[in-house]
Amino acid sequence: MAKHIKTITRSRLLKREHTGCGECQTSCQSACKTSCTVGNQTCLNTKTK
């Protein structure tokens, strides 16, 4: 058990493919229309699987 560092998220980023399926929603379409935050988009593949 780590005493000094608590890991909150272990991302799968390094495992992600160089080419995604490209099916998820376009970010500027979602809610902002002025600034792109894409970190909050979810993968349509994992959502529908």
Binding site: I8, R16, Q29, S30, A31, C32, V38, G39, C43
Partner: protein
């Protein structure tokens, strides 16, 4: 690359290239922030004088070493040789109405006219846009159409006809078409609401928050405030949305903040207090000469306000409310795939905007910037060189982004904004970057605190 920051008394370390987030104690912070972990002997001598024991320092160094070996800390950039996907159109923003029934001062569409003559998109042009989307969408199964303006509800017959036509064409081509509409809610009556709900259309409703904040900049052509009317329509729609039992699209309420409401966390509280659960507040896009524009001197106020907003958000969620603030909903565990993280919104290569006359632009904000006209949905060739510029405008092509800790969360900023401020789509404006980083620190902090709530 790591980014160490403190917020709300919590010490956080974000590992940029693996997207991992860690909460650390003072000792681990000292080792990471001052990069002492790289020189264990020096770390010992420095930190022994700070009152830590040799055993503690050894333990913390070991934890850091383990996380590094697991590629969760200080990870090297694995994607630098990135080649973005080919040009395929996935989403179109249709400016079905270039005019508007409000004249919001900060509107980049210039009071709904987008610098052009007020005009509604004819149904035939909208149909051509649908055909254009389907024929340029390659193997994409899910494509998107966004009704925008101006005010799209001013051209409701064309919106309705386009949804029906797109559904039919989508079925024939075996594609799923998702719809979104962004509206000021002035005309959002029962009939339109029913249509939007029945068709599962995502709805983005614009209101800036408190009455005095909203009415200052979102006025009618006659100079009257629009808050009362807009709010009543939004509340009615949300009620219908809640009661709708069938499949339905999402509904976000979005506002803009300017230097006139640097206390925008109050607007978040105001909207949340009305029972609205999905909220987005965006910094205004403006020229430095506009009186309401955000400036360098406002940055510390904006940062402090995002922190207040984060605390309000956490307080509400801790109280059992499932409330969302668009920019805090970062999905570090899942999240989008690589092309998206590296290229952002896809403007100019997977996302395009169409004017009422059928002209194509890289996105809705580029409309009217003549050098960026990409052709017309009625036919003809597309300028491959210009599209290529946008396709390759990912974070590794932007020198500033390559070095930035926020790159995989921000994805390189808004191209239209880069062009507006720096006349170069590869050069993000510093002020926007600083606000983005402030907001992302809050989002990471929120993520770390939500962990405690789970």
């Amino acid at each position: 690359m790591i980014h160490c920051f403190t917020l709300g008394g919590v010490k956080l370390v974000y590992d940029v290239h693996s997207h991992s987030l860690h909460e650390v104690d003072d000792l681990a912070w000292a080792l990471l922030y001052w990069e002492l972990y790289q020189e264990p002997e020096r770390a010992m001598s420095v930190l022994l004088t700070e009152g830590y024991t040799g055993e503690e320092i050894g333990e913390a160094l070991e934890e850091i070493a383990r996380l590094r070996a697991d590629r969760l800390l200080c990870t090297a950039d694995p994607f630098s040789g990135y080649e973005p996907p080919a040009f395929v159109v996935k989403a179109l923003c249709l400016n079905v109405a270039h005019n508007c029934n409000l004249s919001c001062r900060y509107c980049f569409a210039g009071a709904g006219s987008l610098g052009q003559t007020a005009v509604l998109m004819p149904s035939s042009t909208a149909r051509q846009a649908v055909d254009f989307l389907l024929s340029h969408s390659g193997t994409r199964q899910n494509v998107e159409i966004d009704f925008f303006g101006g005010e799209p509800l001013l051209n409701m017959p064309v919106v309705e006809a386009t949804v029906a036509y797109a559904r039919e064409r989508g079925r024939a081509e075996g594609k799923e078409i998702g719809f979104t509409i962004t509206t000021n809610a002035v005309l959002l009556d029962e009939h339109i609401s029913r249509f939007l709900l029945e068709n599962g259309i995502n709805v983005v409703l614009s209101i800036d928050g408190r009455p005095e904040v909203h009415d200052r900049l979102r006025q009618t052509h006659g100079g009257k405030g629009s808050h009362a009317q807009v709010l009543s329509h939004i509340m009615q729609y949300l009620q219908r949305h809640r009661e709708w039992s069938g499949p339905k699209g999402y509904c976000y309420v979005r506002g803009t903040f300017t230097r006139y409401n640097l206390d925008f966390a109050q607007d978040f509280r105001y909207l949340a207090g009305l029972g609205i659960d999905e909220i987005s507040l965006e910094p205004v896009v403006a020229r430095p000469t506009d009186d309401y524009s955000l400036r360098g001197e406002d940055l510390s106020a904006v940062a402090a306000e995002y922190e207040r907003l984060a605390e309000a958000y956490l307080e509400m969620n801790a109280g059992g409310r499932d409330i969302r603030f668009f920019h805090f909903e970062i999905d570090l565990d899942g999240g989008p795939c690589l092309p998206k993280l590296l290229s952002g919104c896809g403007a100019g290569h997977s996302y395009l905007a169409v004017t009422a006359q059928g002209d194509l632009y890289p996105c809705h904000q580029f409309i009217g910037r003549e050098a960026y006209r990409l052709g017309n949905v009625s036919g003809g060739s597309l300028p491959t060189e210009l599209i290529e510029q946008f396709r390759t405008a990912h974070i590794y092509a932007k020198p500033k982004c390559r070095q930035c800790w926020a790159k995989f969360l921000c994805s390189g900023g808004c191209q239209a904004h880069c062009h507006l401020e720096n006349n170069n789509i590869l050069e993000p404006p510093e002020l926007a970057c600083q606000m983005m980083r402030q907001r992302l620190e809050c989002a990471l902090y929120v993520r770390s605190r939500k962990e405690q709530l789970l």
